[in-house]
Symmetry: C2
């Protein structure tokens, strides 16, 4: 790809958490021909390791740039991911799929997409990418297509681009209908290095390395995805 | 008001910038019988004075508590309020009212309301208060009723309260149709101490005090509001 070509690619803002889904979503944005601007949040999550993974995923995934916005939602409490509440372990699939999980961060995707929209306005971008997935995470209200459609509607009314120039924003969620197995398979197709990604809600530090617990909902879903895809997960587990 | 009574007041999240509009909005929330939780942002604005005013306004205005969320939008650039770009001075009314102002912060109210929604979820609140005003700031797309209606719609789809319990969120903008004159008059009716508030986009420090410039769009609109209300603005100006 020549640099002249790369300058003509339309800009898009892509939310990159450092997880497997957002790594594949970034790859989809680049594959679709966008100049991807990767955005991560330092939102009081318990593990800085997540942001290290986000940086590596953004670099390896061909993002044009990567910015980290500090936004400390832990001042409100309300979720196991940002407080000291215990992360649920070894739940069976039925438990994982039912109700709003204890690890739910209030209004998280609303907040993340809003900040992505702010950057999109500055960049002149009309496209946002987010790695949400309705299949594995049906308990999260802000991972559903109706939510994303409502956000697109809001974006048109919130911005100069929408109200003065009639431009439409689009929230792309290329993994929306994917199972974790399909995410793993798509990662392999798009040459995404899943060894760089991070999924665990409750990682363990051992001899300077950060290992996934292998027991939280996120680890269980990830491991099942690899198993069903007939692949071995390249990250290290503590169990 | 007894403390038993105060415990039965429904919670509301109220955005408090430290400005005149948000001070009156907080007073409206308390006046309407809500237990007001005041929310401010440290968003890379150039003047910490703004946050000092927000603290004083929240305390004096009867907020149950006040929290400040760090959210540095200046990493994106794009506005005179968070960069070193020059603030426009001494513009006439027609210039102030036309187009999107140079001081526009991209998607600011979308971001602020999203974070307010996150706190509302934790508090179990369904009501958000914001001091936007369509009359004086017609250039800001995210100050219009259509924008607030779209946000209410989004909130219902973004939250467990909306999707699981069918509850409706409401974004209150009590000053939407007020002129600055009416804001000053309402402040006096509700006993709001406007001496605590801050409006200027480009304040001047002199002998340890922070003075309003008296020339930016915000100062000009504020001064005109006091003049039309036949009142003297209690804050100090540098001019």
């Amino acid at each position: 790809m020549t640099s002249a070509h790369s300058q003509t690619r339309p800009p898009a803002v892509c939310l990159v958490s450092g997880g497997m889904d957002s790594a594949v979503t970034l790859a989809e944005a680049v594959h679709a021909g966008f100049c991807a601007h990767a955005l991560s949040f330092d939102y009081g999550q318990r593990h800085a390791h997540e942001l290290d993974c986000a940086r590596r995923v953004a670099n390896a995934g061909g993002a044009a740039e990567h910015r980290i916005v500090t936004l400390d939602l832990s001042v409100f409490g309300g979720s196991a991911l940002t407080t000291d509440e215990e992360v649920p372990k070894d739940r069976d699939e039925q438990e994982i799929g039912t109700g709003v999980p204890a690890t739910y961060v209030p209004a998280r995707n609303t907040v993340f997409l809003s900040v992505a929209l702010a950057w999109a306005e500055v960049l002149g971008a009309k496209d946002l990418f987010i790695g949400v997935n309705a299949v594995d995470y049906s308990g999260y209200p802000d991972c559903r297509p109706e939510f994303l459609a409502a956000f697109e509607e809001l974006a048109g009314k919130a911005t100069a681009a929408g109200t003065e120039r009639g431009e439409r924003f689009r929230v792309h969620a290329p993994l929306m209908e994917f199972s974790k197995q399909q995410v793993v398979e798509r990662a392999i197709e798009l040459d995404v290095d899943l060894a760089l990604t991070h999924t665990c809600y409750d990682p363990v530090e051992r001899d300077g390395a950060v290992l996934a617990c292998g027991h939280c909902d996120a680890c269980l879903l990830r491991l099942k995805g690899f198993e069903q895809a007939g692949r071995v997960d390249p990250i290290e587990y503590a169990r």
